[in-house]
């Protein structure tokens, strides 16, 4: 199926020039919290993508009937219900993953990207573009999470997905894991480095300086 250029922009924009984390600077809180290991980063990326996509579809279907004054409440109820269902399903069919993510699944409700997409996109667009927008933003968020999680686990624990990757010989030669990588401030420094690289490649995103 060939996608029109508009649909393509909706789906792929958030992966690059309209990335929710490194361009819009949303969802930073969870990007700091879950990225000290690669595995929770990946599961979180998948969970957020699913929730944003389906919340977008539901709000988009309801958009003509929602009273304007309580629209944020309606969005919140839909998001909270979906997150609860995801967490219930995980508890029944993927118990281990659910245990690992513990509170973070519930905290998807407070993810700024979720509410941001519902408010900015789903309220004004049809269900199909909204679905793609949700997938695109979830993946855009997830990609950053995975990159940050990759470097934090590699440099902080010397493992990837729990498997040791730094050869023992390097430790014998005096190399040590960087414990600082485990702490949240390093996640924000890594995000800043990603933003730096991204902006130097996309000059039009750079802010004017005087």
């Amino acid at each position: 199926m060939a996608l029109s250029s508009k649909t393509k922009a909706v789906l792929l924009g958030p992966l690059n020039k309209n990335n929710p984390v490194i361009v819009q600077v949303l969802g930073i809180c969870s990007a700091l919290a879950v990225t000290s290991k690669l595995e929770p980063s990946i599961v979180m990326a998948i969970a957020v993508t699913i929730v944003v996509a389906f919340a977008n579809v539901i709000i988009s279907l309801l958009r003509k009937s929602i009273p304007n004054r309580i629209r944020i409440i309606v969005q919140l109820v839909v998001a909270a219900a979906l997150v609860t269902i995801v967490s219930e399903v995980l508890a029944a069919f993927a118990y281990d993953v659910n245990k690992q993510l513990s509170v973070f699944v519930g905290l998807i409700v407070t993810n700024c990207i979720l509410m941001g997409r519902l408010e900015a996109f789903a309220l004004g667009n049809g269900p199909w573009p909204s679905f793609l927008d949700g997938i695109g933003n979830g993946l855009g968020y997830g990609a950053i999470l995975i990159v940050v999680g990759f470097f934090r686990e590699l440099l902080g624990s010397g493992t990837l997905l729990g498997y040791p990757v730094i050869p023992q010989g390097l430790y014998d030669a005096g190399y040590e894991n960087n414990g600082l990588m485990m702490l949240a401030p390093m996640a924000i420094l890594l995000v800043a480095c990603i933003i730096w690289v991204h902006r130097s490649k996309n000059k039009e995103l750079q802010e004017e300086t005087n």
Partner: protein
């Protein structure tokens, strides 16, 4: 109908809440059997891990019934309560939580590994962000630790959450809960430090508060079994 009128808004909100409530209640009802089964399997898995056995969820049930011979409640004096024996999830030993104020006694599991009996007791405490818990398998002498298992609700990944790793857990093997007939438990110290009064293991670097939580849990939860363990010691000396 006017979308912005108060009547419409109130009806909309009420209908939405009722639908969502019904939907969630239905989801929970449909999935709850499976969730409870998962929780029971998970608990059995934890008990088996305290015996240094890593089994998949599918094998857990069989392995558990093969190794765990008996389970019962004991009172604060360490005496077994009559009529509480049984190892299935419906029996009192399995369903009793340590922190429960209504609990009639303290759960103990008896397992047989390679011909010798191990006593498994649950533990519960607090880490940095929330609850931590665990199981301790103790040799028949009531003092030497055979194996341990720890779990946590939401400790920091890479720091406090490291208490679940074999690297941390295996340190407990062979440590003694008693020193000169006095219950001292096992201390969790900062890596590199020592403790002359008690047996000790290294805590987690950067996970000081969680390590302290494990230390307190070993002292308080296991401490409630002090008399039970003392009875084991006298019986086996």
């Amino acid at each position: 109908m006017n979308r912005e009128s108060s009547g419409y808004t109130i009806i909309y909100a009420s209908v939405m809440v009722v639908i969502v409530a019904l939907g969630l209640a239905f989801t929970h009802q449909v999935l709850s059997d499976k969730q409870i089964a998962n929780e029971n399997t998970d608990k059995m898995q934890q008990i088996l891990r305290s015996l240094n056995l890593e089994v998949t969820a599918a094998d857990t049930q069989n392995k558990y019934s093969e190794l765990v011979k008996n389970a019962y409640l004991v009172n604060d004096e360490g005496k077994r309560l009559e009529g509480t024996e049984g190892i299935t999830p419906d029996d009192p030993a399995f369903s009793t939580e340590l922190g429960d104020a209504q609990a009639k006694g303290l759960p103990v599991y008896e397992a047989e590994v390679d011909g010798s009996t191990k006593y498994i007791i649950p533990m519960s405490g607090t880490g940095l962000w929330g609850a931590i818990w665990g199981y301790l398998a103790i040799e028949a002498d009531g003092s030497a630790i055979y194996g341990s298992e720890f779990g946590h609700a939401g400790e920091t990944p890479g720091l406090g959450a490291e208490i679940v790793t074999p690297h941390f857990r295996n340190q407990f093997q062979g440590k003694n809960l008693f020193r000169e007939n006095e219950f001292t438990s096992v201390a969790v110290v900062k890596p590199g430090q020592t403790n002359t009064r008690r047996d000790y293991v290294d805590g987690i670097s950067g996970g000081t508060i969680t390590s302290k939580g494990v230390d307190d849990m070993l002292l308080n939860s296991v401490g409630r079994y002090k008399n039970f363990l003392m009875n084991l010691r006298t019986a086996n000396q």
